[in-house]
């Protein structure tokens, strides 16, 4: 166990969020069982009021997820010095491979929470709350995943063994056989660039088209899946070429260092716009099937338009930020790869 203020913060935060999430699940199960919008009994009224609590809690949980994602990466960076051969966050994550699982789980939960908020938003726009059971079932399924993520996170930190001088006879270098690789395998720069810009253009075009023709159901679904694919491609691209242009070193592929002050914190707008854009694009696609519900038709229409616009805007911002150093930096990656 690494006893570190950041670790304490993350573990405390996870505990708080877990308690809140499970509290919401208990309320959610009560709602799933007892909900009957046609009745005006005291019981139904109190259930309706509990939905406010759950919404509020989930908003906070979402906020926490975003913060904890950054704090996790930051903490991993801060403790990298404790591990032999670890140069940055990547090294800390490699030091106990479950770290990667935690990171991915945090990202996935971010999106799942985001989707829940999307469904919640739509549901609250219809007078008969048509999605109420669905959204609480979703929440009930989401909570164990959050528990799992908290558990993984805890075991990550518990499993980390700082390579400190502990005893007289077993000095450290002896177990350096398990060298921690510090760099991520990166895909070739030029290939990745083509893929990235093609994917970005395609996704933006689809979304832009959907702002006008919001009823193209199949395109909507494709754009939703496309957003996720684009997300993966974008991450691969950040590792492959965006990072090296920002760092101006051909071998430094760490996707986390751009969050640091020495790179003007450019990582925040970069990841912020990417996560936001993908979430809104995916959210608009998730909303699509609810169009069938009569009371939701206008809400879906209205929100889809808004979200699609936001998604396009954010994705364009993301593309601009990631292209910026390619155009304006003196560093050239070609031929050095």
């Amino acid at each position: 166990m690494i006893f570190h203020p950041g670790v304490l913060g993350l573990v405390t935060g996870s505990l708080i969020v877990l308690v809140m999430a499970f509290f919401s699940v208990v309320l959610g199960i009560r709602i799933i069982i007892g909900w009957d919008i046609t009745k005006s009994t005291a019981g139904q009224l109190s259930l309706e009021r509990q939905t406010y609590l759950v919404s509020t809690v989930m908003n906070y949980v979402m906020g926490f997820q975003i913060l904890s994602l950054f704090l996790f990466v930051y903490t991993a960076d801060d403790i990298h010095q404790l591990f032999v051969g670890a140069m940055c966050t990547t090294g800390s994550l490699n030091a106990n491979p479950i770290g990667w699982t935690v990171l991915f789980a945090k990202i996935i939960i971010f999106f799942l929470c985001g989707i829940w908020l999307v469904i919640n938003k739509l549901d609250e726009m219809a007078e008969d709350y048509p999605l109420v059971r669905f959204k609480y079932k979703y929440l009930t399924a989401l909570a164990p995943l959050m528990a799992l993520e908290a558990y993984w996170q805890l075991s990550y930190f518990l499993g980390l063994k700082a390579n400190v001088i502990t005893s007289c006879c077993s000095s450290l270098f002896s177990d350096e056989g398990v060298t921690v690789a510090s760099s991520l395998a990166a895909l070739p720069v030029d290939v990745m660039m083509y893929i990235f810009y093609a994917a970005a253009a395609l996704e933006t075009a689809m979304l832009a088209l959907l702002i006008r023709k919001s009823a193209w159901r199949i395109l909507r679904y494709i754009s939703g899946v496309g957003a996720l694919v684009f997300f993966l491609i974008a991450l691969a691209s950040i590792i492959s070429f965006v990072s090296i242009y920002y760092y101006e070193t051909p071998v430094h592929h760490c996707p986390f260092d751009i969050l640091q002050g020495q790179y003007m914190f450019v990582g925040y707008p970069l990841y912020g716009s990417l996560f936001g854009g993908v979430l809104f694009a995916a959210g608009a696609a998730v909303a699509e099937p609810f169009r069938k519900i009569n009371s939701l038709k206008t809400a879906v229409d209205q929100m889809q338009r808004k979200w699609t616009k936001l998604a396009v805007l954010l994705i364009i911002i993301f593309i601009i930020i990631s292209t910026w150093p390619l155009v304006f930096s003196t560093f050239k990656a070609y031929g050095q790869n």
């Binding site: 006893f3 400190v164 001088i165 502990t166 005893s167 007289c168």
Partner: protein
């Protein structure tokens, strides 16, 4: 909207104070670069391996060179860089 403005101003002032402190601290660290490099030269010349923070016991003075039994050597129940050192009582009065 007066109170919002007062509050925003208050927060902005606090943030500005923090920013000034942050910048001045960076500056202060920077202007002590010289002192720092002298100190580093000192470490190099004297081949020092530890800082003189805690001198109550030899293993706290030189935590990096402590040996296995260190926790039980000098002071009973003294805080230790071994987690257990702060919890486990010493074997007996020396």
């Amino acid at each position: 909207m007066s109170k919002t403005k007062i509050f925003a101003a208050f927060i902005a002032i606090e943030a500005a104070v923090l920013a000034v402190l942050y910048i001045s601290s960076a500056n202060c660290v920077h202007c002590k670069d010289n002192e720092m490099s002298l100190k580093r030269a000192m470490v190099r010349a004297m081949r020092l391996t530890d800082a003189a923070f805690w001198t109550e016991a030899r293993y706290t003075r030189h935590p990096s060179q402590a040996d296995f039994f260190a926790a039980f050597q000098d002071f009973p129940s003294s805080p230790d860089h071994f987690p257990a050192g702060s919890i486990v009582p010493p074997a007996g009065q020396r």
